[in-house]
């Protein structure tokens, strides 16, 4: 990864509204590393889509600057802006495929728009159909496809003009978990094979865990936390990040354990231990027992991979009076 594919510098956006302005984004400064899969997570209305739409000039910044491969998007117009847009593919939550065109026709559209000669379009479309695994469906119409198949068409269409950046606006939010996984795998594969930078937005931490190398958390139009996904998962600094994390990393007590603890408080302290990096393979519990003589009780936990590194989460309870000591170790 060398340099930034996309940079936001002091970016702000407000929309006019009856009796004033809605501040959708404020003071966004972020760089998206070249070749990364960078995920932006935030609640509904946080400003994710607005931020993404700045990258291909579908929205214009009110203040600050956004650039793609060094080119200023916010001030580009006419053919300059259209040239940038051909270098930036986009996929959508609701696919946005033309019902009047077959799979082949949909994938050909950006090439027609770019003025590619007919003969070349045919060959390129065949290659793209292969690349996203839609071989048998080339002449079907969108109405005859499943959600996952439609999104593959969307991805092929976004890749048609050979962009350097792919934007994804909740591309898996309308899909079931299994299909989501296959679409995420495809995005990861494209990122690897083509060296394409992917900027995606989501409201699901699991999507970031599965494919994002870098992430940012956006809250009420501001970025509250950003960095490599592994680091953010291991040491979440902001309350919003922690609340997103609690859903995916086993950082909450399983419901039945919580219920039992509440019904019959044992007078113990519950501690959450995260293992990151090399610690993930350390014999931590054994050390507690042998070095301090504390016997910990395991309440819940997970261990999983983020990127290629192990990441663990354990909830233990220790006797009330030994809590501080255990934490210190």
């Amino acid at each position: 990864m060398t340099g930034a594919a996309i940079t936001f510098e002091g970016l702000g956006k407000s929309f006019p509204k009856a009796g004033g302005q809605v501040m959708a984004l404020a003071d966004i400064t972020l760089s998206v590393p070249q070749g990364s899969i960078t995920g932006i997570i935030g609640r509904s209305g946080a400003g994710k889509s607005t931020l993404l739409r700045m990258v291909n000039g579908l929205e214009r910044p009110t203040t600050g600057k956004v650039s793609v491969a060094g080119r200023d998007v916010g001030t580009a117009t006419g053919s300059g802006l259209r040239a940038i847009r051909r270098d930036v593919g986009m996929i959508f939550q609701h696919f946005n495929l033309l019902a009047s065109r077959s799979v082949r026709g949909n994938i050909a559209l950006p090439l027609e728009v770019a003025g590619t000669p007919r003969g070349q379009i045919r060959a390129r479309v065949d290659q793209l159909i292969d690349q996203v695994g839609l071989g048998a469906l080339a002449d079907r119409y969108p109405a005859e496809l499943s959600g996952g198949q439609k999104q593959r068409v969307g991805i092929a269409r976004a890749l048609a003009t050979g962009p350097k950046v792919l934007l994804s606006d909740e591309a898996t939010s309308a899909l079931d978990p299994e299909t989501t996984q296959t679409v995420l795998d495809l995005l990861a594969q494209i990122n690897r094979d083509l060296g394409l930078t992917v900027l995606l937005i989501t409201h699901e931490m699991a999507v970031l865990r599965d494919i994002a190398s870098h992430m940012a958390v956006i809250e009420a139009g501001r970025i509250v936390e950003a960095g490599p996904t592994y680091d953010v998962f291991a040491r979440p600094a902001h309350a919003t990040t922690r609340s997103f994390l609690s859903g995916v990393t086993g950082a909450t007590l399983p419901a039945f354990v919580a219920a039992r603890l509440q019904a019959d408080p044992p007078g113990d302290q519950v501690i959450r231990v995260t293992f990151a990096g090399t610690h993930a393979t350390d014999p931590m519990l054994a050390r507690l027992a042998t070095d301090l003589g504390i016997s910990a009780n395991i309440l819940g936990g997970t261990i999983e991979e983020i990127g290629t590194r192990p990441f663990g989460n354990l909830l233990i309870s220790v006797p009330h009076d030994r809590g501080d000591q255990a934490r210190a170790s």
């Binding site: 847009r85 959508f92 946005n96 019902a99 009047s100 065109r101 559209l109 119409y141 109405a143």
Partner: protein, 224 residues
């Protein structure tokens, strides 16, 4: 019905078909671009020109609010200037076209407005120009709706063309009035009505068939 009436009915039918076909074609040539423009020229849209949009909208509404029979009479000077006479099938085509253009424009406008904004967004994200978006996205996606709209327009023109008959336009309406009413031959009146019903049925069925052929949306979404 005496046999010598058949050629008269046949001629009148051909005259009606001629008036309707030409005015439908001219009405589409004028109404399609006008409708596309009305649908895309509001503030913030592809061809954002809010003032032009407002003015054209007013003109369209004004034309559409004049009863057809008054329109025919009111534009007689214009008709004379265009075809040199105010009587006959060619003269009838002028008011028929003038009425068809704003009608078709509104039908096209409605069909285009039905197109999902997300598709326009996707096309903009590809770097499409407004004209490319209109040609490659809006019109093809709105085609089932446009086809049904044109069907409606042709059916209306069949009715209007019978009305121009009353003011010297020839065709089935003229025949019905002259023979059926003035010469009191009710069988001619009946024959004219039957032919009109058949024509309307044929046009409607053909329009629906074409609309279904061009409609690639899932069956549950049909019926625009």
């Amino acid at each position: 019905m005496s046999a010598n009436l058949i050629p008269i009915l046949w001629d009148a039918t051909l005259q009606t078909l001629y008036m309707v076909a030409i005015s439908a074609i001219l009405g589409t040539v004028g109404g399609l671009p006008l409708g596309v423009f009305l649908a895309t020229s509001q503030r913030g849209e592809l061809l954002s020109t809010p003032w032009v949009n407002k003015v054209l909208g007013l003109v369209v509404n004004a034309t559409r609010s004049v009863p057809f029979i008054i329109l025919v009479v009111a534009i007689i000077p214009f008709t004379r200037a265009v075809v040199g006479t105010s009587i006959g099938t060619d003269a009838a085509i002028v008011p028929l076209t003038v009425a068809a253009i704003p009608f078709i424009a509104r039908l096209v406008e409605n069909a285009i407005r039905e197109v999902d904004q997300g598709l326009i967004e996707a096309a903009r994200a590809m770097g499409a120009t407004p004209l490319q978006i209109i040609r490659k996205v809006l019109i093809p996606e709105a085609l089932p709706g446009i086809t049904l709209g044109l069907t409606l327009a042709v059916v209306s023109l069949i009715g209007y063309s019978a009305m121009v008959g009353a003011v010297g336009g020839q065709g089935l309406g003229d025949l019905g009035i002259r023979y059926g009413y003035q010469r009191f031959m009710p069988e001619v009146m009946a024959a004219v009505v039957v032919i009109l019903i058949v024509l309307v049925q044929l046009v409607q069925s053909l329009g629906e068939w074409i609309a279904a052929r061009v409609d690639r949306r899932a069956p549950r979404n049909r019926g625009a």
